[in-house]
């Protein structure tokens, strides 16, 4: 004879209380089986068909390309911002002269002078960027020697592994706590 819902419920709660995981799971499956299924009201399929016929099917919208998501473009923007930031002291002079020029009438001499100043500012900026690059290279060379030893290399590898493990743990923690998300844009 099939056990009643009452018996199954008792079995489940007793298994939960005793920590018998497999028994608890089996009993809970059986308990849900005793419940009548939850179904939509009669005629559901007909109503869906009617709605499907009435609702116009929208033309597929081409997915908009997210330029910010392109890695090389992001790197380019970051590099441009860095160069502009470094060249700002020289560009400020140029901007000041531009502001001065707007106050007066434009003449050929002014335009030539402005162009020259602009060129000078740009070349100074490039010079600064090259100097920075040299400086970074120098730091790299300086650090290269100590890190070339096996002990230092080992330390670096260990640090790398630890950071990867920490990142993985953090990601797992975040994804575990994330509760209510869209799966994908269906």
């Amino acid at each position: 004879m099939r056990p009643s819902h009452d018996e199954i419920l008792d079995r489940w709660l007793a298994a939960e209380a005793d920590g018998r995981e497999d028994d608890a799971e089996t009993a809970l499956f059986a308990l849900f089986e005793t419940l009548p299924p939850l179904a939509p009201p009669a005629g559901f399929a007909n109503r869906v068909i009617v709605r499907a016929a009435l609702a116009p099917i929208p033309a597929p919208v081409p997915a908009r390309r997210n330029l910010v998501a392109v890695p090389w473009l992001r790197a380019l923007v970051a590099l441009s911002l860095l160069i502009v930031g470094l060249a700002l002291p020289w560009l400020s002079g140029l901007l000041r002269s531009l502001a001065g020029v707007t106050g007066s009438l434009w003449s050929l001499a002014d335009m030539v002078r402005l162009g020259m100043e602009g060129l000078v500012a740009v070349s100074q900026g490039l010079g600064a960027a090259l100097a920075l690059w040299d400086w970074l290279l120098e730091i790299g060379r300086t650090l290269q020697a100590p890190f070339a030893t096996p002990a230092a290399a080992l330390v670096m590898v260990v640090c790398l592994l630890v950071s990867v493990a920490a990142f993985h743990f953090l990601r797992d923690l975040i994804s575990r706590d994330r509760s209510w998300i869209h799966v994908e844009p269906i």
């Binding site: 009643s4 819902h5 009452d6 419920l9 008792d10 489940w12 709660l13 007793a14 939960e16 209380a17 995981e21 608890a24 799971e25 809970l28 499956f29 308990l31 849900f32 005793t34 419940l35 009548p36 299924p37 939850l38 179904a39 939509p40 009201p41 559901f44 399929a45 109503r47 869906v48 068909i49 709605r51 499907a52 609702a55 099917i57 929208p58 797992d172 994804s175 575990r176 509760s179 209510w180 998300i181 869209h182 799966v183 994908e184 269906i186």
Partner: protein
Amino acid sequence: MKTEAELVAEALRGAEEAFREIVVRFERPVYSLIARMIQDPAAAEDLAQEVFLKAFRRLETYDPARKFSSWLFKIAHNTTIDHLRRHAPETIPLEGGKDREEDRGGLAAVLADESTENPSSAAERRDMARSLERAIARLRPEYREAVVLFYIEGASYQEICEATDLPLGTVKTNLHRARKELAEEMARLGWGPAETRSAPGS
């Protein structure tokens, strides 16, 4: 009986009967999931219809290598999230919940099938169904979804992972914790071992 892939292929060719067959085959699990997630049978029917309409419009994106039910549950998952975000998260009142549920023709009323039982057994079964549904409703949404998909709809771990985009470990943890919380809630509602039971569902 036609396979899911065959039905989808026919529906893509414009066969209304194939689409109808898909709806008939999956209306119960989709409705059951949504109704238990949002705890409102009337809105659940509307959302379930929406799920099938979305599926109909995006049918060409379905990969026949995967189970159709997983794909459909994924759409139901997204549609339910949208609904829950639009509406304030429902709270089940500790007092007066029974009346509220019955007033609006709630899930317990839908579940209580008295046609095949004697009145006393049917009444107890109705009480238990109500308590179980209330316990499910009090779970966190992700626990609730996992319970409905796994224990009620018989979805595998992998299918739940696909539908919810959660890692396998998280799905298993959610199910384990959900089961524990369900048991605690049932005990709190008075459903303990028979000899210790007092006024179940009260």
